[in-house]
Symmetry: C2
Subunit: 222 residues, 2 copies
């Protein structure tokens, strides 16, 4: 349940959509592993993913990487920087990616020019907030992994087959589990016939059961 990160398009007039869409510019290509944002840097722009996959992460005192979020095409990067005016975390490409840019100054101007867009923005942020709150719950390793698979399946829409471009370590870090635990759970899910684990691709066989394991399906239904 906790892992739907899709900022699905709001049902707003075409003109607003167009305004929003055309605001983005400066397509940028990033090879796998390349850093896009550094924590502490002035938040001069937000970004939208056009292709590939990126991750947001922090490095804590003992040098451990903590993945905060994964971003896929359509997702906006940088909302969490608007408050403090500084980026709070690293953002780097997981696979070769393309992103486009919207300077914060232009975002503000745009919102003053078209206040109706604010609604859209608030919706996206409040959805992110709801997901983050859901993620902070205490769930078993099995629940977390199942929910992650289900959410990724819905997010990427591969029809029961999910390609996970990120390393097991990244998934584990995101789910607050040990890498080994993720492997073990995937192994157990495969043994019990719920999934088929093919390298970086997971085929979900028993989706209903996975959803049940994930717990509350409400968040996805909504």
């Amino acid at each position: 349940m906790p892992f739907d990160t899709r900022p699905s398009p709001a049902a707003s007039p075409d003109t607003l959509d167009a305004l929003w869409t055309s605001a983005w510019s400066g397509l940028m290509s990033l090879p796998a592993g390349k850093s896009l944002l550094e924590p502490g840097a002035r938040a001069q722009a937000i970004y939208q993913v056009r292709a590939g996959c990126l991750k947001s992460y922090t490095i804590d005192v003992d040098g451990t990487e903590r993945v905060r979020a994964f971003y896929f095409p359509g997702d906006v990067i940088g909302f969490d920087a608007l408050g403090a005016d500084r980026y709070p975390a690293h953002v780097a490409a997981v696979t070769a990616s393309q992103v486009c840019r919207l300077p914060v100054t232009e975002l503000r101007a745009l919102l003053i020019r078209a206040p109706e867009l604010t609604q859209n923005l608030l919706e996206r942020m409040s959805r992110d907030l709801a997901v983050a709150l859901a993620l902070s719950g205490d769930y078993s390793a099995e629940q977390r992994v199942a929910a992650f698979l289900v959410a990724m399946g819905e997010r990427l829409g591969g029809g029961g087959s999910v390609r996970l471009p990120m390393a097991r370590r990244d998934i584990a870090s995101y789910l607050r589990l040990a890498t080994e635990t993720v492997c073990r759970v995937l192994g157990r899910l495969e043994q019990s016939g719920r999934i088929v684990n093919e390298n970086k691709t997971v085929r979900m066989v028993d989706t209903a059961r996975l959803r049940f394991l994930a717990g509350v399906p409400a968040l996805h239904a909504a």
Copy 2:
């Protein structure tokens, strides 16, 4: 570190502040335990706490209560409903409280009339988002409790002495721990001389050490 929930006032022109402040109306008094919002209800208004303490919580499938947030005077309740147009959780008074109201329609009108306020709103939401993300990390029971105490101390500003109006059970639920674990950690902190535990009030003796235990002090410093 993860627990600063204060939406501290943004440094914006007096007129904007005044506009924001005067938008709120309908002071409402709630006795302890009284429910303010129910999940699923149409989000017709957001609220601001004027006095007391409230909590936001969900009830999951097995009937367990999960506390999502505590609200104190100045905090805004309901941001997370703006996206889905429905409140996502229960909100109830922990102690006798007073709140005032801002209908969503008026909020939208206000934002169109004074788009500069949007910035303020985005800042509040993005701060909430950052806190929620921080809270979702995996921390030891000791880290969580220490961080909670430090954050509450900063939040309520009682000069090293924090009054915790909510039950241990609520704190435990919020921190994703068992009630007993919270008690045990408080006991250990007291035995090692870091705090003095007087019923509902905790005096922080070794604040520096508590901050260290809480981990990254960055979030508070910023």
